[in-house]
Amino acid sequence: MTTAPVPAVKIEGVSKRYGRTLALDNVSFEVPPGELFALLGPNGAGKTTLLHILCTILRPDSGWALINGVDVIKNPVEGRRNLGIVFQEPSLDDRLTLYENLNFHGLVYGVPAALRRKRIDEMLALVELSDWRERLVRTLSSGMKRRLEIARALIHHSRILFLDEPTVGLDAQSRERFWQYVHRLRNERALTVIVTTHYIEEVEGCDRVCIIDHGRILAQDSPAKLKSAHGQELVRLVAREEAAAAEIAAAYADRVVRNDKELVLKSSGDAFTEALFARFGNRIRRLAVEEPSLESVFLSLTGRELRDQAAGARELTYEFGKRGGEHTK
């Protein structure tokens, strides 16, 4: 009906370096209004850095960041007025009550008194914390604190919500509830949400996913399209003995994705599985066929699995130690 809408968030050619590490390497993307956009990547991929640049805590070494068409680098105050953010670490004052925390936020953002009171009530009701209104924040559970932080981020009626690893440290139940609120909020008002996460299952419900690793964007598209473009049916198998595993790996050398505790092969359909079975069927202890999932998308894009990302280096060190370190070789 009108010309193309101004993108809610636009990042162009942003780079950021910490000392020798390049945290962001020429990152560009656009998020249209109303979208639920996920930044997926392991710890240290640069997700938080990107969000901090968007909310003007950090300055990029190069590039532009625009929020609702406003350049946040030139005009940080205007940019900040439009966005709400939930930081990775809690940033509530736990010696104030819930109401006082929200009121503080409203005052600081210049929300007029009557509107402020109305919104605080609305928001508390929305995240189901109305009964706790006069309690000190330190008496809340961590799931409740997260919900309160969402409510706070919306007090000044931000159109864009940044959630930085919002569900880290929450149990499965609170995590699910947290997402319920986010989805409900999106339905009630046209809210653009940008969320960073390293939980793959949370990303399935998003409109678009941007996979980011070592500061580079590897892919961005809707989950379904990502799956069909980069997804790969995988066969995971555990052989009866080491020798068999080595033999299978040698036979399908070009298909091996990973070979450690279990052998992961790229599959090209049922025919492949049947051929594999016919040849090595009696030497396999366990075999599973995995449909294309975001997990496998990530695996094929980065060559590693997201789940062990955080622990990757650590586990390697342990392994190293177990083998006696460098002295025994």
Partner: protein, 400 residues
């Protein structure tokens, strides 16, 4: 386009209203936190009780001295009356410092970030913070006034107003000083040391518990007291604060009555102007766009002191992939310093040491692979990929 649900956003508030609202919000928060902090309140009550009732009453009889066999009133007031304004100042000093602790607290526990992301300028944030601390400090100072009866001091409303004005200037200056120092101190422990190392010496040398007799000439004063002590007292700005408070409450001045307010005003202004300097650089001065900034690497190297520069930085990459075996301790220290600076996972206050141990381990592995990519051959193919992938220097090494 789909957005019928968007509410029409209210008009952005005028800049002045926004600033006032911000100052009020931060002020209110400081005051509320202080009211809820029992420990602070107990300190604020017990300190004057000790000083006035025990020190004051205990030393009262010894205040009138006898010099050269001739009884002489050093000061035409009792010791209780004399020490009373100083105790007000002591209370204000402690409370101001306490509000500086809350600045460190905010920084360490993330709340400062919430404030810094808000559309408020730094000066407004500081003003709110300092006014909040000032209010609390003035309240604690006023608690002492409840003991005026025991000290035999009659207070007229005008005296009280005069006193409150002086107390406000003093508290404002001291709270600003607290914030200045809190912005430069990295830990609570460090601040504790500061508090004791600064408050008590300043208090004792401010002519708070003994008078420099105004009836004596300066030569005579130096006979009674050692010269260095007289000098310390005269250099201490708080001497004039106590003097101004004495003037307000017992109408006794040791110095020129105009001196007190001037010294206090200058102190408040100077410290308030320095205070924004140390605030974390969350809102840097933005460079105009474009041109592109110079490569940060070179930038940083130039700014770093020679001692901390990586001695290998100028060598070609391939030559430094394996560190030399016989490097000296100096170089080792230098590397450690660099790693500490570069380590984004280093433990900050408030984080548990146990998690940190894991982070350190994984960080250790990364560094190891960064500097010794040949270790890679210890692993079966593909296994170490995750770690050294992003190391620019190891890329050439791993070519088959």
């Amino acid at each position: 386009m789909t957005s019928p649900a968007i509410e029409i956003s209210e008009k952005p508030p005028s800049a002045i209203m926004l600033q006032l609202g911000g100052v009020y919000a931060i002020w209110l928060r400081e005051v509320k936190r202080a009211i809820r902090d029992r420990g602070q309140l107990i300190g604020g009550v017990s300190r004057p009780l000790l000083w006035v009732l025990i020190m004051g009453i205990g030393l009262n009889p010894y205040f009138r001295g006898e010099i050269y066999g001739e009884v002489r009133f050093v000061v035409p007031y009792t010791y209780l009356q004399f020490i009373f304004p100083a105790v007000i100042m002591l209370n204000i000093m402690y409370t101001s410092v306490q509000s500086a602790v809350s600045t460190i607290w905010d920084r360490e526990f993330g709340f400062l970030r919430e404030i810094l992301v808000s559309p408020l300028p730094r000066a407004t944030i500081l003003l709110g913070k300092i006014l909040g601390g000032t209010t609390v400090a003035m309240f604690h100072g006023s608690l002492v006034l409840a003991l005026a009866r025991f000290a035999d001091i009659t207070l007229t409303p005008l005296d009280i107003l005069h006193g409150l004005a002086i107390m406000f200037m003093l508290a404002f200056g001291l709270t600003s000083l607290g914030v200045v120092i809190a912005n430069r101190v990295r830990s609570f422990e460090g601040f504790g040391v500061f508090a004791n190392a600064v408050i008590l010496p300043l208090y004792f040398t401010s002519s708070s518990i003994f008078p420099l007799d105004p009836s004596l000439t300066s030569a005579q004063t130096k006979v009674v007291y050692p010269e260095w002590l007289v000098m310390l007292v005269e250099l201490n700005p708080l001497t004039y604060a106590v003097d101004a408070l004495r003037g307000a409450f017992i109408h006794f001045y040791q110095f020129d009555p105009r001196l007190g307010p001037i010294v206090l005003g200058v102190m408040a202004a100077v410290f308030f102007l320095i205070a924004p300097r140390g605030l974390p650089k969350a809102r840097p001065a933005w460079r105009p766009f474009p041109p592109d900034p110079p490569p940060p690497q070179a930038d940083q190297r130039a700014r770093r002191p020679r001692r901390l520069q990586d001695p290998r930085a100028d060598e070609p990459d391939a030559a430094v992939a394996v560190p030399r075996a016989g490097r000296d301790a100096d170089e080792h220290e230098c590397q450690r310093a660099l790693q500490r600076v570069a380590n984004p996972h280093r433990r900050r206050a408030g984080e548990s040491a146990v998690d940190h141990r894991d982070a350190k381990l994984s960080r250790g592995a990364e560094i190891l692979f960064d500097h010794q990519p040949r270790l890679g051959h210890l692993y079966p193919d593909g296994e170490h990929e995750g770690v050294d992938r992003h190391s620019p220097r190891s890329a050439g090494d791993r070519e088959p």
